[in-house]
């Protein structure tokens, strides 16, 4: 039994790390920013923590905190040009940003170790730290959803014209969502650096970006459960069926196509909606008109 648990601790760690990245992607989408920059912020956080630790010998909490600060700062900086763009153009701009960060990590050899990667990072982060961090971020997301912030993010994402007509300063909220996305990715980037000994520039590239996006699209973009379910499913899947592991990216791609077509709101949000509809139906308050959407 203990063997069984031991075997799965690395998978659980991977889940917790990627859950953090999924929350970073989630909060950006939740605030209506079509950002794919989580990979870049994660790279910034990871390399910041790694470099401060390996080159300057600073303690890992300092490096991780610096990763959070730099991830947030990068997001704040990027939010300026991004606020002038909408939808798919934001996606393109942020993918370009991801590539810029990857390139910098390759070409700034003296600092980052270049294509050879950054090695010898002290392993100071274990399962408990990852768990506390993931739980803390989950609490943050949950708390946001319990207050007007969650409702405001919802209306911004669904309809900008309605949002401003209700007095919502959209730019401020989107900057907040995006800065949180940068800070959270920076945090988990730093945690990943101290969890894995070595960093490699392409680790935070396009494949990573697709994986993170898949978690949120599969799980759901509205409820906090969305990223948790999505990450759990996609991390567990290759473990259950080993052959899938070799074709991980292919499987993610197929799942994305299937989910977008058949469950556009993701697993968790669809399930929550179904439950709610059933409760409404059972409460017997259904009027004759409801359900038949159009009257005229």
């Amino acid at each position: 039994m203990s063997d069984f648990i031991f075997n799965y601790i690395p998978v659980f760690d991977l889940f917790l790390l990627h859950l953090g990245f999924a929350f970073s992607q989630y909060i950006a989408l939740r605030s209506g920013v079509f950002s794919l920059a989580t990979a870049a912020f994660a790279g910034i956080g990871a390399y910041t923590a790694g470099i401060l630790s390996v080159k300057l010998g600073l303690p890992s909490p300092v490096g991780i905190a610096a990763g959070v600060v730099l991830g947030t700062a990068a997001a704040l900086f990027l939010s300026l040009p991004l606020s002038k763009l909408r939808g798919v153009y934001q996606a393109i701009a942020t993918v370009a940003f991801v590539q810029i960060v990857v390139s910098l990590n390759i070409y700034l050899e003296g600092l980052t170790g270049g294509a050879m990667g950054l090695n010898g990072i002290p392993h100071t982060v274990g399962t408990p730290v990852l768990f506390v961090a993931a739980a803390g971020v989950a609490y943050m997301m949950w708390a946001i959803n319990r207050t007007r912030l969650g409702r405001t993010f919802d209306v911004i994402r669904e309809d900008e014209a309605v949002a401003v007509s209700l007095g919502v300063p959209m730019a401020r909220y989107q900057t907040l969502g995006f800065a949180l996305s940068g800070g959270i990715a920076g945090l988990f980037g730093g945690l990943e650096a101290h969890h894995t000994y070595a960093l490699e520039p392409n680790q935070f590239g396009f494949t990573f970006l697709i994986a993170i996006l898949s978690y949120v699209v599969l799980g759901g973009r509205s409820s906090v459960l969305g990223p948790i379910v999505g990450t759990a499913v996609l991390i567990a899947l290759p473990e259950i069926a080993r052959p899938l592991d070799e074709n991980r990216v292919l499987v993610y791609g197929l799942l994305l196509i299937l989910v977008i077509n058949f469950l556009p709101r993701g697993i968790a949000d669809t399930a929550i909606d179904r439950l709610r509809l059933r409760r409404v139906a059972r409460s017997g308050s259904a009027p004759a008109k409801a359900g038949k959407a159009v009257e005229t």
């Binding site: 209306v155 209700l166 007095g167």
Partner: protein, 256 residues
């Protein structure tokens, strides 16, 4: 009393004139009508008042506040709320949630209070829910509170939009075709609510096609055609104005 005033407002898109020299006053405690055929420029006027479109000329003031170059969310803060002609609700969210969104400006919670004083922030959400329930009650929709907005009839969806706009406790309410798709009984019920709202001292600007509704309800009517105000005055006088009859109502006057 705060009054919305449009002075010589004009809008051109390239060479196309969408509004020209429009002068409109919307006083508090009154229902003012804005009517005109499709393409007359009604929506352009609404979009300029709410800040969604920049003016090409003229100015718009609300009491002492100059709205002419204000950001849309600032205009909302100044006390203007609106509904949309093509209903814009969060279709998957419940009626109650849709109305709660309208309370944005009344609420104070921030990220920090959500994280570190969640009980207080959560209490604010409960207060907002109670206030939203009071609005639902006023509009007779309490029993529908948990239904997804998208599942309701047009008439009900329009009412949800109105509740959401009222949640902001506006001094001026811009209603873009509020009774479209409603039956007689439903629009009579809304007319009663509109009168209550103006009795409370609010101003209403009603953009409408339904002639009878306008005649019954409005104190003052502006008729727009080709981007210009071609007639204004008491509804009965305006509808009798030959300019209006030919330009707007044409042959369909007996249908009205």
């Amino acid at each position: 009393m705060t009054e919305l005033v449009l002075e010589n407002v004009g809008k051109t898109f390239g060479g196309v004139v969408a509004s020209e020299n429009v002068n409109i006053r919307v006083p508090a405690g009154r229902i003012t009508g804005l009517i005109g055929p499709n393409g007359a420029g009604k929506t352009t006027i609404v979009n300029m008042i709410t800040g969604m479109l920049a003016l090409s000329s003229g100015r718009i003031t609300f009491g002492d506040t100059d709205l002419t170059t204000m950001m849309p969310h600032r205009i909302a803060e100044a006390g203007l709320a609106r509904t949309f002609q093509n209903i814009r609700l969060l279709k998957d969210a419940s009626i109650l949630e849709n109305v709660m969104i309208g309370f944005h400006m009344a609420e104070r919670s921030t990220l920090l209070s959500a994280l570190f004083r969640l009980p207080g922030a959560a209490k604010e959400t409960r207060d907002t829910r109670a206030a939203a329930m009071a609005l639902l009650d006023r509009f007779g929709m309490t029993h529908l509170r948990d239904h997804p907005a998208g599942s309701l009839s047009y008439g009900h969806q329009r009412r949800v939009e109105m509740m959401r706009a009222l949640a902001a406790d506006p001094q001026l309410l811009l209603l873009d075709e509020p009774v479209a798709g409603m039956n007689e009984a439903e629009s009579a019920e809304l007319a009663r609510i509109f009168r209550e709202l103006t009795d409370e001292g609010r101003a209403i600007l009603l953009i409408e096609h339904d002639m009878r509704f306008v005649t019954d309800l409005c104190h003052h009517v502006y008729v727009l055609d080709g981007g210009k105000v071609i007639s204004e005055g008491r509804p009965a006088d305006v509808l009798a104005d030959p300019v209006v009859v030919t330009a707007y109502l044409g042959e369909s006057i007996d249908a009205a």
